[in-house]
Symmetry: C2
Subunit: 242 residues, 2 copies
C-alpha cells in the first residue's frame, strides 16, 4: 500500500528535512519511526527540502509499505515513535504512482514576523522579531507584483545551480494578526531561499523600495537587485496540494 | 524610584516564579537581571507564586531602585540580560507604597486545551492535549456557576493551609479558537491550584457532570467533590490589573 502522511514539525533542532551527514534531520526521525512501525518501507520521499530551522505545519511525505494498516492507526503508531517536535496529523492511501515531491500542484508557505517592541519568549525560534511600523496596504501592493509566472532569479540564493527559474506564484499577501504579521505565498514550486528573499525584500517597502519597485527587481534577474534573506526561523511550510 | 514591570515567560524550564532551593526559578533570573542593570534593588516582589511549568503573558513584579532610568530603557536593558524564555514587555513608574502582590485588584488566567486528534509540536509544554468533542454551550453554562463570591474550598489543592477560601470570580468562560479551546477566568485572588482544578472539573461537563452540578460541587466545600487537577503546561497568567 502507498501512503501519504502529513506532518508538522518544529525545525529548530534539525538541519532541515533532508538527511545529511552534518546534523540530525527530520527525514531521519520519520524514517526511523516508519521502520519501527512497518519494518521496512520503500519509495520514501518528502515533498521538498527545507532549510535548517524552518518549520512545517503540513509537510507531506509518501512511502510504500507491505501493510494494510488503516490510516488512523498509521497516525497514532507513528506519533508514538516520533520525537515531540515532529507529529503526523493526517494520513491517506494514494495511488502507486503517487510521489510526494513530483505530484505537488501547489505549495503554500507562511512567514511570521513578530512586530512587538519587546521580544516574546513564545516566539523565539518561531518568528522573526523585527520591530517597526508596517504599512499593510503598501506591503500588499508590493506583494501583488510577485503573482503570476515570472523568472524569479532575483529571488534565488546566489550560487544555485537551477537554470529554469520560472515559477508561477498563485497568491502573495500579508495579514496582520495581533502581534504577528504573516506573509503567505503559494506557487507551483519555489527556488532555493525564494520565500526568505521575498520577505527580506518586501519588508523594505515602503522605506527603501516603493511597492512598484518589486517589478524592476524581478526584471533585473539578479540576486543583487533584491533585499536580504530573512531568517529561517519565521518560515513555515503551511499547506501542500496534490 | 519604584518600578512595575510586566513580563512574559515560558515556564517549562522553571520550578515556578518563587525562588526555591530545589530548582531554577523565574524570580532568580529576573533578580539577576535587575542587579546587573541597577546594581542593587529593594522591595522586589512578584504578583503571585506560580507552579512549575506554568506560563505568563503578563506577570507583574515591582522593585525600588536608586535610578531615574526611563521605562523604555528599563525594558531594553532587562531584556538584554534575561534568558530567552523570559522577557519584559512593559514598565511603569508607580507610587512608593505600590506592591506587586498586595495592590492587585484583578488577575486573569487563561488555560489552553489543544483539541486536535494528533498532538502538535507547536503546543508541547504550552497546552493540554486532550482529544474530545467539547460542548461549548454546556461548558459556558457550567463555568457561569463559578462567577460571584464563593467559598472555593472544593477547588483548592488538598493540604493547603489557607482558612479563608472566599474569592470573587468576575468572569469564567470558554472560547474556541481554531484548534485550541481556552478557559478564561478572572478573580480578585486564587487559591492554590484553583484554576487547574476548575479546568479538570469543567472538562468533565457534560459527560460526567451536568452543567448545574458545578453548584453542588462548590457547596460541598470539599476537594474530593471536584475533578482532577489539569496539568500545569496549559496555564497562563494572562492579565493583572491594579
Amino acid at each position: 500500500m502507498k501512503y501519504l502522511i502529513r506532518l508538522s514539525f518544529d525545525g529548530t533542532a534539525y538541519c532541515g528535512w533532508q538527511m545529511q551527514k552534518n546534523g540530525p534531520s527530520v527525514q531521519e526521525q520519520v524514517f526511523r519511526a516508519l521502520t519501527t512501525v512497518f519494518g521496512n518501507v520503500q519509495e520514501f520521499s518528502g515533498c521538498s527540502r527545507t532549510d535548517a530551522g524552518v518549520h512545517a505545519l503540513d509537510f507531506c511525505a509518501s512511502f510504500a509499505a507491505d501493510s494494510t494498516l488503516p490510516c488512523e492507526k498509521v497516525i497514532a503508531a507513528l506519533n508514538a515513535n516520533l520525537p515531540r517536535d515532529i507529529a503526523v496529523h493526517a494520513a491517506e492511501i494514494v495511488p502507486d504512482d503517487f510521489h510526494a515531491r513530483y505530484s505537488v500542484i501547489k505549495k503554500e508557505y507562511r512567514y511570521r514576523i513578530l512586530t512587538t517592541p519587546a521580544r516574546s519568549p513564545f516566539w523565539e525560534d518561531r518568528a522573526w522579531h523585527r520591530v517597526g511600523e508596517y504599512d499593510l496596504e503598501a506591503l500588499n501592493r508590493a506583494a501583488s507584483h510577485l503573482c503570476g509566472p515570472h523568472d524569479f532569479r532575483s529571488f534565488m540564493a546566489a550560487g544555485s545551480k537551477i537554470t529554469d527559474c520560472t515559477r508561477t506564484v498563485f497568491d502573495a499577501h500579508f495579514e496582520q494578526d495581533g502581534d504577528t504579521l504573516s506573509f503567505y505565498v503559494s506557487a507551483d514550486g519555489f527556488l532555493y531561499n525564494m520565500v526568505r528573499i521575498m520577505v527580506g525584500t518586501l519588508l523594505e517597502v515602503p522605506r527603501k523600495y516603493p511597492p512598484e519597485e518589486i517589478k524592476a527587481i524581478l526584471e533585473a534577474k539578479n540576486r543583487a537587485a533584491a533585499g536580504a534573506t530573512a531568517p529561517a526561523r519565521g518560515l513555515y511550510l503551511n499547506r501542500v496540494e496534490y
